[in-house]
Symmetry: C2
Subunit: 262 residues, 2 copies
């Protein structure tokens, strides 16, 4: 859709879920939402009707995905970047998103905070029924990442995932869910941060094709559960010879027609 | 095959790899070899022609699998239990295993040792080209495990996997491989123990069927590599509606006709 300005940044309005909702996003740069957000959103079970927290919500792709599929859910979007928080608010104001607007709120706050600073920033305690997170994951040591990006919000601190998971647990009620999408290389940090906080942990690798290594993992757990962890069958994005087209399951998931059923 | 005695224990002689090799095993109890040993053996690449160490070798299933498939490989089998070490030696003496006997040696020693005790027990330093391990994994907290078994060699100490991986690294040359088969729940302990010792780590989940959670992981790494870890596509043991029959790939792997190609 045609460009508009948020602050002085050029943005686009883009359709997700085959038009089920729209996002206002910066026209250029590393902040544009993609498949990851819709996949982690699909970790929230069908029929979810509680309070969702989206950590590092960006323009709102993951939270809006959940709200579009789960029509009785409500959500709070936590986002540190003033620009992205403004994009998320602009998204909620779109007439196309009228079915979401009354159920969502954007809070500009840093998910990486701890203790009193976190409470002062507006994070409640023991409230949410599900928390989703799609944390930035450019590795500071990854030479493929351009310098400009490294300097921005997309750089991941050494223990960023741990701090995010601590925040997730602090703001969620016992028995609630947490779903994180991350790089496979983050598995140890994620599982260690969840240890003692979450049980019934399920790790689902996401492979681009049946024969290729995973490019993401979706890790889900239940706060306070004692059940042991599992590896779920993987999600395969494309059939082996399917070109750039999504597999049937990936299409259903990224279009909000199917949950991951972990 | 008919029972025979090793010491005063009744044993059987069982064919593996469709008769490619045979094992002498106790007729009863928790020590009988199975699918796990042949799967971890398949992590050793085709054409491997170096020195293999099999940690916790039992009756020799994993090492014999490698020697049967890789006809120029040699192996040292480390086993703590005098009975199982004796079974492994009896296996090497079988006429059916004449093609393996000249290439294998059994050392009765505890893989969990460290430092000077480890060297005194007969473990060399920086020697092996590949190390495989199929550590015992009954969880002491697992109520499904019978008491008699818990008291035996199959009980896993808290940090047993870490100690085994330290031993594996100590006895292996730089650039060599390590492959471990374990429960999915051991992934953090394994990856942490490999950290700083092994790179190019590949985690391969093993699922009983396409729709079921993994029951095992095979973790492979290269000593001293700096490459980041990956999740390989899973191994599926049975087709979704295939009853107890192995899938084509599982059959090829457990019969020594195919390596895992990690």
């Amino acid at each position: 859709m045609a460009a508009r300005l948020v602050g002085d940044v050029e943005t686009t309005v883009d359709a997700f879920h085959r038009g089920g909702f729209h996002l206002v996003q910066p026209a250029k740069g590393a902040h544009r939402s993609g498949v990851d957000a819709t996949i982690v959103a699909a970790a929230v079970p069908d029929g979810f009707a509680g309070m969702l927290a989206d950590l590092g919500a960006g323009a709102g792709a993951a939270a809006f995905s959940v709200l579009d599929r789960c029509r009785e859910a409500r959500a709070v979007l936590y986002e540190k970047s003033p620009l992205m928080a403004e994009c998320a608010r602009a998204g909620l104001a779109l007439p196309e998103n009228a079915h979401l607007a009354g159920r969502a709120e954007v809070v500009e706050a840093d998910v990486g905070l701890d203790g009193k600073a976190r409470e002062a920033a507006g994070f409640p305690r023991d409230v949410y029924d599900w928390v989703i997170a799609n944390p930035p994951f450019n590795d500071p040591k990854d030479r493929a990442t351009p310098k400009a990006e490294k300097a921005g919000a997309h750089v991941m601190d050494e223990d960023m995932l741990s701090r995010w998971i601590k925040t997730a647990c602090a703001i969620a009620r016992p028995g609630s869910g947490l779903s994180v999408i991350a790089r496979p290389q983050s598995i140890v940090e994620i599982l260690q941060a969840m240890k003692g906080r979450y049980g019934a942990v399920t790790v689902m690798p996401v492979h681009p094709r049946p024969s290729k290594p995973a490019i993401r993992i979706v890790v889900t757990g239940i706060k306070g559960s004692r059940r042991q962890m599992e590896f779920a069958p993987p999600l395969i994005l494309h059939d082996e010879d399917g070109g750039t087209k999504f597999s049937a399951r990936a299409k259903a998931i990224t279009n909000g027609r199917e949950a991951l059923r972990l």
